[in-house]
């Protein structure tokens, strides 16, 4: 009786901490979306609740339900998010680079510029 009650308390505390962590991730995404200067750095902030925030919230839900039969669905939800988030981020970042929605003065190193420069070797590189 006491042991199970203690276990309930511990699990509730763990779920509470995980819930607050998930909320903090979405708060970080909101602050990053407001404050960061250009598209690619905003993308960096936007992926926080997609992966880590969703993981902690789903873990909290699975802990409070205390049922093993929902664990595969939780894993499916998180795994699907984990698989699709890099693809959409890649596509958005690529089209942001192509349409020049970025601030080149904030970059420390542009690795894609070599591919663009490869087709423009005859020109002096003033348009990078």
């Amino acid at each position: 009786m006491f042991e199970s009650l203690d276990l309930d308390l511990v699990l509730d505390a763990l779920a509470s901490v995980l819930l607050v962590i998930g909320g903090l991730m979405s708060l970080a995404a909101g602050i990053g979306l407001v404050r960061l200067p250009d598209l690619h750095s905003r993308m960096h902030a936007a992926t926080k609740p997609q992966v880590l925030g969703l993981l902690s919230l789903l873990l909290a839900a699975a802990i409070t339900w205390r049922a093993w039969e929902w664990v595969p669905i939780v894993i499916l939800a998180w795994g699907l998010q984990l698989l699709t988030a890099p693809v959409s981020a890649h596509v958005v970042g690529r089209s942001g680079y192509r349409t020049k929605h970025m601030r080149r003065d904030l970059l420390t190193h542009d690795e894609l510029a070599s591919a663009v420069e490869r087709i423009s070797k005859d020109q002096p590189p003033e348009r990078r």
């Binding site: 998930g22 708060l27 995404a29 958005v92 020109q123």
Partner: protein, 203 residues
Amino acid sequence: MLEIAVHITQVLLALGAAGAVYRVYKGPSVLDRVISLDVMLIIVASMMIVDMVVNDHQDFILFVVVTAVIGFLGAVAIARYVVVRSPEEVAEETAAQDPFPEPPTSPVLPGVPGENEPEAPHDPVSTPAMPGIDDEEDESTSWFSALTRSGFTPRPLDENDAAEEEAVDSDPAESDSTAPDSTAPDSTAADPTAPKKEEDRDV
């Protein structure tokens, strides 16, 4: 204790959603709005998870599963049709040195395009276009040609590639014209202005 954590979490989620809404309202390009809407979708799913935690039910778990697919499809479908800008706008932007031009309040009507101009609409940010229909070029290379029209002069790719591979693999003295471009690929990490050997061709 769980109730207090739930209240804190709801406040934090609301603040995050407020930031995303601000970015949707303010965002200079459609891509900012896309990622902000993605964040808002995730926050809605998170609120549903919190509701499931509070009321101890599993009714919304299917939406949480579907959310991943919805956000993925929306981001990919919108980012697929973002327009490559026309060379006049790129020239204006490089002249003005303004990386974030404000979107025009009244949409500029596209004039009659000449034979050398790309058939892209003049509003670069908010107008979706179908580049595969108006353009007879391949979509995967049309952005290269748009960059080329904005001042680049491309050379044939296969000759370039062969020269670069040869220069990288063997000693750089063999390749005559491209030798100063492809020597010492290790030093390019320190110097961002130096051209480096290509590593990301499928971009």
